[in-house]
Structures are given as C-alpha cells and as structure tokens.
C-alpha cells in the first residue's frame, strides 16, 4: 500500500463521489494510505478505495470523457448540459510548517496539508468555521491558529495542535469577534492577536481563553496585523486605508498613517533590519509603501500595475515580494523602489503568499484553489 502513488485531485473527487453514492455521508480523506475512512459510525470499515479506482480505470476515462464532452456542450447555454466542474474555493492563506516539509493552506473547504516542495495534497481537514482567512503557527511551531468564522455572525480563532500529528485537533476556540477574523498574529506562544471584519482587534491569552486587550480604532474591517520586534508595538491595517500603530500593553492608539488611497490588505515586517523597524504594506491603490511605524513616517513607495493583495520580505530583507490580483508577483527593491522582476504565478487573484525561510522559494495561493511554487533568484 505504501507504494501507491499519490492520488490526484480528480481521483479524490471521484472517491468522494463514490462515497456520496454508496455511503452517503461526509468523511475525511487520507489518500496516502489508500483508504477511504468513513467516520462517525462505529460500524464503519475501511474501504479499498484504491482497488476500486484501479479496477475502474477504463470506466473512469470514459466518465472523464463524458464529463469533458458535457462540459464543452454546457458552454452553450442552450445545450442540454449541466455537468459542471466542482467549484473550487480559493486558497486564502498559507503557512509553512516548522520542519519545512509541509505547507498548510486554508480555504472554505478546510485546511489542506501539502507536501513541500512537490505541493502534492496530502490531506484536507474540515473546520467548523465556514470561512478561514488567516492561519499562523505559534513561535514554537506547535500550535496552529486558524482565524475565520461565519460571515456576519461570529469570528473565531481555533487553536489547533500540530504536534499531535496531522489531524490538527482543536485545543481551544477563541470567540469574541462579531464577524469573521481576517488577521491573526502570535505575540508569543501564549498570546495572540486577532483582527476582524467587526473592526476590532483583540489580544488573547490562549490558555485562559480570555481577552487581554481590545483595540478599537479602525473604521472598517481589519485585514492584517504584525508585531514589531519589541513585541509591544502592534501595527494593523484594513479596509479603511489606514495603518494604525498601537501600544499593546496599554491598548493606546499611538498613530494613524493614512497615505494609502485605497484598502490595505497586508503588512510585513522587514527582517534583519538595523535601526528603526520597517514595515511594508500592500494596497488596492497599486502601491507597496514602506513605513517606519515607530516614528510614523512613510519612507518610500513603489507603484505597480495592479492592485496588491499580499506582501512578504525575502529572507535577507533585501527585497520585498508583492502579489497582485492579476496573478503576478512583483519583486521590489525597497531602496530604489523599482520593480526588479515580475513573475506570472497563477490565473487570477493571489490571496496568499509566503516566502520560504531558508531558500528562495515563494509559494502563492489564490483563486480556484490554485497553489504554486515560484523560485526567485
């Protein structure tokens, strides 16, 4: 069984289809061991899914052709064809595990564990939250925070265990937001800050599941959070176009920086930076702006040709990567504020981007469940 190849997404869907037809309930897929695990029932038995798949190869090809034919016909609204492909939810965030062997992605379908660097899907785990917007590992890499919620109802931060294996069991659920949590950032292994579309930012003690501090000031939803190295200064941004700087201990709003002219989606603290900390921000106004939040100054800005959704520093802090809604990644020199290179990545919006901590890889995820690894020189 261990020699079985990784099951492709199409085959996974077919297995799910079989499951719907023959079993009629949701389940968790563990394709690496070739078993379709039917959960929630004590009578459940392992089902030889891979055997079914192999024996039905010819049938599957026929079925695929049928799907393809119907799909083509369905392009014409007047043709009697309705076999549309299963909708694929966008990848909303990505994190790399501490050992560097896996990438975890979030979407409306749940948490997806990919093998790195092949990006083969290994497992999908459902979550209670309908939408997940942000995921982040604790500094020690043992806990995974999952920020999301049910839109317009509540925002949650699920604290899941990574050390207990790949099932990511929920240890705690932090509840307090009145709309989806869209941004999270660990302060240390026991405190985390979350920002939501309810415009609030909450600092949590995850062990006591209590709110330590609430930061109110954004006039629209919060989209990104980051701590400065002193761990007592929080930088936040959001749809209200403002970057706000907070004293974490007192909850005081230290300053608002308002040079962006449209919504701001992401922040990233420059690594290996001597002197005043520098934060990069990405905005719909097609700019990456470089800030010194401690002194409230916008240092420079670079303009590109598309609205930007993500920003991340390369490992050495020499350049910044910015991802856009036209599927491109721009590598920008913060000193010259010129675009060094442009990398076509995916088709459509890039909602998430991470930079590998030890090599030159950039991984992006976005529309239609696309995930891709880029190698940047």
């Amino acid at each position: 069984m261990n020699s079985l190849p990784t099951i492709s997404p199409i085959r996974q869907r077919l297995i799910v289809l079989c499951q719907h037809i023959f079993v009629g309930r949701d389940s968790e897929i563990a394709p690496t061991d070739g078993l379709l695990m039917v959960g929630g029932n004590s009578d459940s038995r392992p089902f030889q899914a891979h055997q079914l798949a192999l024996n039905s190869a010819l049938i599957l090809i026929t079925l695929s052709l049928l799907c393809l034919t119907l799909s083509v016909l369905s392009e014409d609204a007047h043709q009697p064809a309705i076999l549309y492909s299963t909708p694929t939810a966008p990848i909303t965030d990505l994190v790399l595990t501490e050992d560097g062997k896996s990438v975890i992605a979030s979407s409306q379908a749940g948490l997806h564990i990919y093998e790195y660097p092949t990006l083969n899907l290994q497992r999908t785990i459902k979550t209670k939250a309908h939408n997940i917007h942000d995921i982040a590992f604790s500094p020690d890499g043992k806990l995974l925070a999952v920020g999301g919620g049910n839109p317009s109802v509540e925002g949650t931060v699920e604290i899941r265990s990574w050390s207990k294996g790949r099932s990511l069991p929920i240890l705690k659920t932090l509840k307090g937001h009145r709309d989806s949590v869209t941004a999270i950032s660990w302060r240390d292994s026991s405190t985390i800050v979350s920002g939501g579309l309810d415009r609030q930012i909450i600092l949590w003690d995850i062990h006591k599941e209590k709110q330590i501090q609430v930061f109110k000031g954004h006039s629209k939803g919060v989209s990104s959070l980051c701590f400065l190295n002193d761990n007592n200064t929080l930088v936040s941004t959001g749809i209200d176009q403002n970057i706000r700087v907070w004293n974490v201990t007192t909850g005081e709003l230290l300053r608002s920086l308002n040079n962006h002219t449209m919504s701001v989606h992401d922040l990233a603290l420059r690594p290996n930076n001597s002197g005043s900390p520098m934060v990069a921000s990405a905005s719909d106004d097609q700019t990456v702006r470089f800030w010194q939040p401690s002194i409230g100054r916008m240092v420079k800005f670079a303009r590109v040709k598309a609205p930007l959704l993500n920003v991340a520093w390369l490992n050495d802090g020499s350049r910044v990567a910015a991802a856009s809604n036209d599927g491109h990644v721009y590598i920008i020199n913060p000193d010259t504020v010129e675009v060094d290179t442009v990398h076509p990545a995916i088709d459509g919006w890039i909602y998430s981007m991470i930079v590998h901590p030890t090599n030159s890889d950039i991984i992006v995820g976005g529309a239609n469940g696309q995930i891709k690894r880029l190698v940047v020189d």
Partner: protein, 743 residues
Amino acid sequence: MKNNHQKHITNILSFLLILCYPIYINSSYAVDNKNPLDSNERINFENDLIPIFTKFGCNAGACHGSAAGRGEFKLSLFGGNPQADYVAIVRQIAGRRINLMHPEKSLVILKPTAQTRHGGGRVLKKNDVPVQLLHDWIRQGARYETKRHLKNVHITPKKQIVSDLKQTIQLKASAHFSDGTTKDVTRWTVFTPEDTSAIKINPATAIAKLNRRGRHIIIARYLTEVIPIEFIAPLNDKIDINSNTNNTVEKTDEIIASNIVNNIDTEIRKLLATLRLPVSANADDATFLRRVTLDLTGRLPTPEHVNAFLAKTDTKKRETWVDTLLASEEFNVYWTMQLAKLFRVRSRDRNTQGVYTYHQWLSKQIRDGVGYDKIARSVILATGDSHQVGAANFYRTVDGPREQAELMSELFMGARLRCANCHNHPLDKWTQDDYHGLAAIFAKIENEQIVRLKPTGTVIHPVTREKAQLRIPGERFLSVDAVDGRKELADWLTDPANPYFAKAIVNRLWKAMMGRGLVEPVDDFRSTNPATHPDLLTALADDFITNGYDLRHTLRQIALSNAYARSANATPQNRTDDRFYSHALKKPLAPEVLADAISDVLGVPDTYGAEPEGTRAVALIDPNTRSDALDILGRCSRETFCETSVGAADGLQRKLHLFNGDLLNARIGVPGSRLDKLITSSTLPMDIVREFYLAALSRHPTHKEQTFWKQHIDVNVSANTQRATLEDMVWSLLTCNEFVTNH
C-alpha cells in the same frame, strides 16, 4: 475465489457508477431548480443575476449602489459595471460573500433572506426564485464568463392611450442578445413610474393601472437599458378643445403663418386633442402686449405704448410690435442678461475686468445677431488674455476641468454629464469615459488670466487610475497624442446633425417664452426624460439650424404662435394643465425684471452698488453688485445654473418684503415719484388710478375696479388722507399677483 468475487462486485459497482452518476447529478439539480431558467442552462452572472439585484433594489443608490456602498459592500449603480460587481461578490475579502462549498451559506443568500443580520432587512424569502438562481450560480462555480451580451430591450407598449381608468395594461419586456436569441425578461425588468401616485404597477406581474388622468411616464430598466413608456389618459370626456374659444379655429392665418408657427400650433393642438384638453381663449391685446414686452425686453410697456397699441386696428399689430421689440436696444440689454445668466458670468476672485470683458462680448454677440453656434465655437476655442478676450472667460467660470466639462455639457448639450463622474449615468447613456474624457479635453487648458493650452494637463480616470483619454462624449476617443481636442469638440457640437446642441437652446428659449421647457428641467435631456412634444422640439431645432442659429428668429416664431397668445385664465376643464399649453402659464417675474418694473411704476430708480443712478437691474454686469432689493427678490448668484437653483423668486420671503418692507413702502410716495408728481400736478384721483393701472398692469381698470376705487377715494377728505389712500392703491397694485407675474 474471494479475490475474483471481490473483483466481480467491484465491476458491478463500477458499472452502476456510470449509470448512477448522471442520474445523481441531474436529479439533485432538478429538485433544487425551480427557477424560470431551463434547468440545463448555465446561469449567467451579467444577464441573469444583475437584473435581480436591480429588481430588488440591491444596487440602488439608497443601498449598495451608493457611491460608498453599504456595509462595506459596494455594487455599481443599477448594475452599470457588472465586472466590478462580480469582483465585489466573488473576489473581494477572499471571496467571503459566496461559499462555493456550501452555496446556501453564502452571504449573498443569507443577507437578503435575513438569515443573518442585514441592514436592508429581508428582501427575499429562502424559496424565492432569485435565491434559487443565486444558489445554483454559486453551485455551478460562480463564473462570470458569458458569450452573449445584451443588444437591446423591446418594451410593449411604448405608448398607450388609456380611455378608461379601470383598464389595466400588461407591460412586457423582451431582451435581444448578441447571439441572436430573444428572451422574455418582463419578470426581471424594473418598471418605475415617474409619479408613483399616478400609476400603480404590480412588480410581480408588470400590470399597470392608472390612478389619475393625464400624461404619465414610466421608466423601464433592464440591465443597462432604460426606456421611457408614455401613458396618456384624456383629461376630459368628449370635449371640443375649442369650446372655450370664440372661434372654432384659431386665427392662425391672421397672424404670420410661417411653417414653424404652424408647426408649433399643430403639435400643441395634436396633444391637446389626444388629452381632450380644451384651450383657453386668446389673450386680449393688452395682456399680449405686456407679456411679449416683458418676455423680449424684460420691461413693462409704458402707458403710452399701451394706449397706442390698443388704439391700433391693424391686424398685424402684434407681429409689428414683436419685430419692434426684437430690434430694440432693450432686447439687447435683456437678452445679454439672459445669456450672462446662462453662461454664469460672474466675478470670481475680484476678477471684475474679466467679467466686464465677458459681458461686453456677449452683449456684442446679441447686438450683432451672431448665431448661437458661432457663440459656442468662440467660447470653446477661446484663448488669450481674459481681460481683453471676452470669450476666454468661459474657462474662468469654474475651477477645474471636470467642472468645465459639467458646465459645457449642461450649457450646450442640456445634459447632466456630472452624473457620470462616479458611475455611468444611471438614466442615460453617458459613461465615466465620456465624463472624464471630456474633462481631459479641458484639462489641457490653463485657466489663469491668460487662457492658453497646457499640453501636460490631465485628469485621472477613477476606474483605470490612468490618465483619461480625450473623448467626444458619446461618440469617440480622440487620438492618444491629441493636445487640443477643442476644435473636434466644437465641430461635433455645432454640427447640424448634433442631437443636443440646437435642441438644448431652443428648449431654453421656449421656456423663457412659455414658462416651461418642452424638456424640463432644461439641463436634463435624456431618453428617460422625454419632451412633452418631441416632434415640436425637433421642428424648432431644425428651424433654428436652418435660420443660422438665430436666437431672434426662434423667439419671434414662438411669440407669434397661437399657443403663446393664449390667455392665462384657465377654465374648469384645463386648470390642472401645467405643461400642455392649453392656457398660458403665469411666470413670476425674474428678480431683476421685477426690481426694474417696481422702479418704473414708482418713478423712483433704485441704486445698485456704485453704479450710476438710473442703472437698470437687468443691465448689471456683476450679479453680486450690492443691492438689497435684488437680495430680497431672490436673485441668482450664478454659482450654479440659475434655471435649477432654488431661490426666493416667488417665495414667502419675497412676498413679505413686498407687503411690509421698505422696498415699496419707503418709495411709493417719496418726492419726485410718479405718484408725487401726479398729485402735485393736481391730477384727478381716478386719473391717477388709471395711470397706475396702465403703468403697472398695462391695461385700463375694469368697470368694477373703477367703481371700487371711486368708493374708496373720497374727494372730500384732507389731502393727506387722500394721498394715503392713493399710496394704498399703488401698494395694492404692486403687490398683486397680476403685477408680479407675467401672465
């Protein structure tokens, strides 16, 4: 054996899989699908969903279609930008508004069905067809791509005469698409009456029913198409429209019978006949004299003029008088003011020299009878020192290129392009490309004292965030390297085929004479605001073009029409008519005209700032010249178009000041006034009364009025008492409705 058996079972299951899969898919779809679309049809975001958002008001200005959206969710106004709407719904905030895994948990479904809190409350029920459409669209992958685009929408009926108010009318809308298909979209078309109290329309069935007689307009909207529907319910039953006139046929042949004059009356009478709206009798000579003199020169006829006109028996005396007025200096002065108001000539930043130069230039255009097309070309193409080149001040009227585009479009096209600044015009064809493209033309003009080209001038298009490309609105982009687009703009604007230019100005002339534009408001030409008499408007515009864009010519034709000559006295059958010209409309005198009229009747000139004594209000160059009288009477500062500004022209403030203020009371009997002179010269009291009737109302007092004054003016009382009574008489004349209106 066990393995073979297992394989056998597996093969059977596999075979069943093939058989069951399509059945499974089809059956689940069929159960869910109760929408009017064929179950096999892919739901199209643009053609199937946008009309739903419009139908249920989601993208209206009061909801998510407002400039800032609602609840951080913005849709384009009435679906004017479907691509942006798609991004808002599917892409923004990581696609949180739809749930591809569980469509029923999508915000776009949960919100309008009030399954989660929604500022707009419950708009739809869970099982409503639109909800099912949304659900199925998300389940199909929430895709945008479409292979067919709307070409046009056909509405039936487009015009309907409704004889019986009990009658119901089924409205229908058919959409024609680029792939040649046609679809009944009645259900998703929004039918909105202009006057909701006049027509009720069932939104589910599109059945209309009139509540009131008259002419009513309904706007039908499907996607970007907006189409007016006209309902006419005759105002009376079987009434001869000439029943109130002395003659069954008006005296068209007694007056000059040019084609356009006939056209005016033919078109007016055609609609009156449809409406079964009887016309009032013709105005008498005295009324006509006062009306036309005020309209053409902004001043009252003198008592001498009145007496002379009434004494004439010439059948062409009206025509002769109109020609006299058109040739007079008074006409030049008054119509210079009219154009100055239209062009919003005013001093800004103490630029009095520029205002003077501009006013003088306009005055010369009127005096010389320059065609309106040439006037327009002159201002659009003007460059030079605005202190010396009058026309160049056109570019100093407003601040920026966008404001200049708005001024140009409202002035010369009668169209509100300003509505296309933030979004495509919701009720017309104007797009943001039109608005910002026209502004880009004016961005290349430097509007300092020296008006000159500024090749580096640009405006940023708010959608593309790039420099807007120069554009002739509604027509074409200019070349990307165009520096001065004004000549192409002027050529297009003054081309006889231009659909806006001539109509916009003749409509304003018509309003000046008749009291109401054929299109009203006069700066709001659009297909959804149709003219009351579209053929007449076209005929007037064509005649205007044929006659060299001559303002005097069109004014003359209107002045000589029977419609213009009608009495303002309404009959019981036509008293509700305020737009079909069955009787003349009473027009409040413009503040400047009323101020001058008061001064003329009293014989006491007013003072205006530092202007020489005797300066008339209509001759003032700067509308902000200090004057309490004009402030009281509600003058227009020309900051915006005077036609649409809300002033105190006939408001309570004006009436109170006339009744109680010093505007009249302090001037009626002062030494040197008309009254003082008449009393001093021992004129008989009743002769004084007659003199003031002629001066103020341009007519002799009626027998009843003479009797009244004879009873109140006692010759046996003291001189002071008698003077006080005569002052009261003058006061009463100058405050009466007959004096403060042109009727």
